[in-house]
């Protein structure tokens, strides 16, 4: 897809998404889209790790939980304001990511995956069992939506569904903008080099460990942001939102949508949330369907749904050794 076509597609998609509440005020549709946005934000973080750097983390939603519970405690127990909390919860998840990353990243490939899996399980048991702080398995109730803000005399509340929809949609858009900035930068270029050949990146002067910890922290911070918005939407933090199955779902979303593509997480999350709703399935069937879908995708579209739209034009014929003048 040429860059102009991609730009047009992006503008159309953004216009449709923002004007949707005006044309189709069906709360059910908006509810599904809010959920898709809430899945997309951690997925972008995971895409930077998995898609661009080649780090498959199986504990990603554990960091979403860190953001969610730190946020819940700050909002409910400490009674901080929402925006300060949003910032602090994101930073806390990022910091947790840097710490856990510094440990997990000493391992490579499948060993790394196992250690991140262990972190995810550990985080879940903390959320589930530390009753005094996280309120345990029953969940952490009473998490507020952001307070109304006033801009130029106009009062904007976050209670009604369309308003919250605009809020999370904008948050998701900003996260996508950040993803694009990161990927197009020298930093992103280095991440992609690490994924392709770590030894070469090192031989070109990259301190691979530091870059990996940095992207792990960034991914975890985005997960934390998504986690806090998620519990603010549901008004309750439940450990089950941040368990192993959710972490695997995040990987599914990224791989299904197209790991290492800018729009991949959006396509993945949309299909992941909307398809089961459309098919009226229960959540139990979701993994079955997506397992099958994943097999199909890996067989026929190894670069995910986004890869179907993308083809790299190669202007010269394949190499031969006969290019001597």
């Amino acid at each position: 897809m040429s860059s102009r076509l991609a730009l047009i597609a992006a503008v159309v998609a953004i216009t449709v998404l923002y004007s949707l509440p005006a044309f189709a005020p069906d709360p059910y549709v908006l509810h599904v889209l809010v959920l898709a946005c809430l899945y997309v934000i951690p997925a972008v973080g995971l895409n930077l790790m998995l898609g661009y750097t080649g780090l498959v983390s199986l504990g990603h939603m554990g960091f979403a939980g860190v953001g969610a519970y730190v946020g819940a405690i700050l909002l409910v127990d400490v009674k901080h304001g929402f925006w300060v909390t949003l910032l602090l919860a994101t930073l806390a998840a990022g910091f947790a990511g840097a710490l856990v990353g510094a440990i997990c990243l000493r391992f490579r490939t499948h060993f790394f995956m196992i250690v991140t899996l262990a972190f995810g399980l550990l985080a879940f048991s903390v959320f589930n069992n530390w009753d005094e702080v996280t309120r345990g398995a029953v969940g952490f109730p009473g998490i507020p939506r952001p307070r109304p803000i006033e801009l130029g005399g106009v009062r904007y509340t976050f209670g009604p569904l369309p308003h919250f929809y605009y809020f999370v949609l904008t948050a998701a858009m900003l996260v996508f903008a950040l993803q694009r900035l990161v990927v197009r930068s020298d930093f992103g270029c280095t991440l992609m080099a690490i994924r392709q050949d770590e030894k070469l990146a090192q031989a070109k002067g990259v301190d691979v460990m530091r870059y990996k910890v940095a992207v792990f922290a960034l991914g975890a911070a985005l997960a934390g942001l998504g986690g806090l918005l998620h519990v603010s939407f549901l008004r309750v933090a439940a450990p089950a939102s941040f368990n192993l199955a959710e972490s695997i779902n995040a990987v599914l979303i990224v791989v299904l949508g197209g790991a290492g593509s800018l729009v991949g997480p959006a396509l993945g999350a949309l299909v992941f949330v909307a398809l089961p709703e459309y098919l009226r399935m229960t959540a139990e069937w979701r993994l079955v369907i997506f397992g099958a879908l994943l097999v199909v995708v890996t067989l026929f579209a190894p670069r995910g749904l986004a890869g179907l739209f993308h083809s790299r034009n190669i202007g010269v014929r394949p190499g031969s050794d006969t290019n001597v003048k």
């Binding site: 020298d186 270029c189 070109k204 190669i314 010269v316 394949p318 290019n323 001597v324």
Partner: protein, 250 residues
């Protein structure tokens, strides 16, 4: 005199195998140096020790008069060491031009993070000219925007060598650049290496098994045998040395 590259008493043993028994030499003048020797002489191990990919058991590595023993590869790069690999490594998903621009860009994490937001690309534009020049030097201009995966093995070697050169190294380590390269590309390689050393001072240390190639190219040859330096001298001296002939050239 300043030591551009020196190793002193370097030893390395893998289990019961002695890869490097005791290697010492110093290079004080810029130029092309050939490192030859039979298989198992320890040439690649020595490269790995100098480039920081392997830690030596004993001995010192000195780059530009500064001790760099045991430093990690990225630190050595910042001290001016660049290397190519025997197995040839390029970023196959990047285009040839992107491979060069990546090699040229500053690699510190601070730069990387700052550049996300400042989006300054003056360094990219500055490197672009040099990248195009180097692609031209190895006849890869037609492939500038093609992913490196479409290149033939020989072309990948050439690309890898120019990506090391664009890093402006003072010590350039090339591990068997001529291996797997067909005779036509060999000429391109020879011409490119001569042009590169003429452009900038530095030490090119080249491990090579193709004797015709390296004897024609190198200013000086270092011969390794069973983990030690057997002989050092100009190509003519080496070819005449009875010890080298007995141990290696036959």
């Amino acid at each position: 005199m300043m030591k551009l590259l020196a190793v002193e008493g370097v030893r390395k043993r893998y289990g019961g195998v002695i890869a490097l028994a005791d290697v010492s030499f110093a290079i004080e003048q810029s130029g092309i140096y050939g490192l030859i020797g039979p298989n198992g002489a320890g040439k690649t191990t020595l490269f790995d020790v100098i480039a920081g990919n392997t830690a030596a058991d004993n001995g010192r590595v000195i780059i530009d008069d500064r001790e760099m023993t045991g430093a990690l590869p990225y630190r050595l790069v910042r001290q001016g060491v660049a290397r190519s690999f025997q197995e040839c490594r390029v970023l196959s998903e990047f285009t040839c031009l992107e491979n060069l621009l990546f090699a040229a860009q500053p690699k510190t994490l601070g730069h990387g993070i700052a550049q996300i937001f400042t989006r300054r690309d003056a360094h990219r534009r500055a490197a672009l000219e040099s990248a195009r020049h180097l692609l031209d030097l190895v006849n890869l201009t037609a492939y500038a925007d093609a992913p490196a995966s479409v290149l033939s093995f020989g072309q990948r070697r050439l690309l890898e060598i120019v990506t090391t050169f664009i890093m402006r190294p003072r010590v350039l380590l090339l591990d068997e650049p001529a291996a797997g390269v067909n005779p036509a590309l060999l000429e391109t390689l020879d011409r490119a290496l001569r042009a590169m050393i003429a452009e900038r001072t530095g030490v090119f240390l080249i491990v090579e098994h193709n004797m015709t190639f390296i004897f024609a190219l190198a200013h000086e040859i270092i011969v390794m045998h069973q983990g030690v330096v057997l002989e050092r001298g100009t190509p003519e001296q080496i070819q005449a040395s009875p010890r080298v002939v007995e141990a290696y050239l036959g």
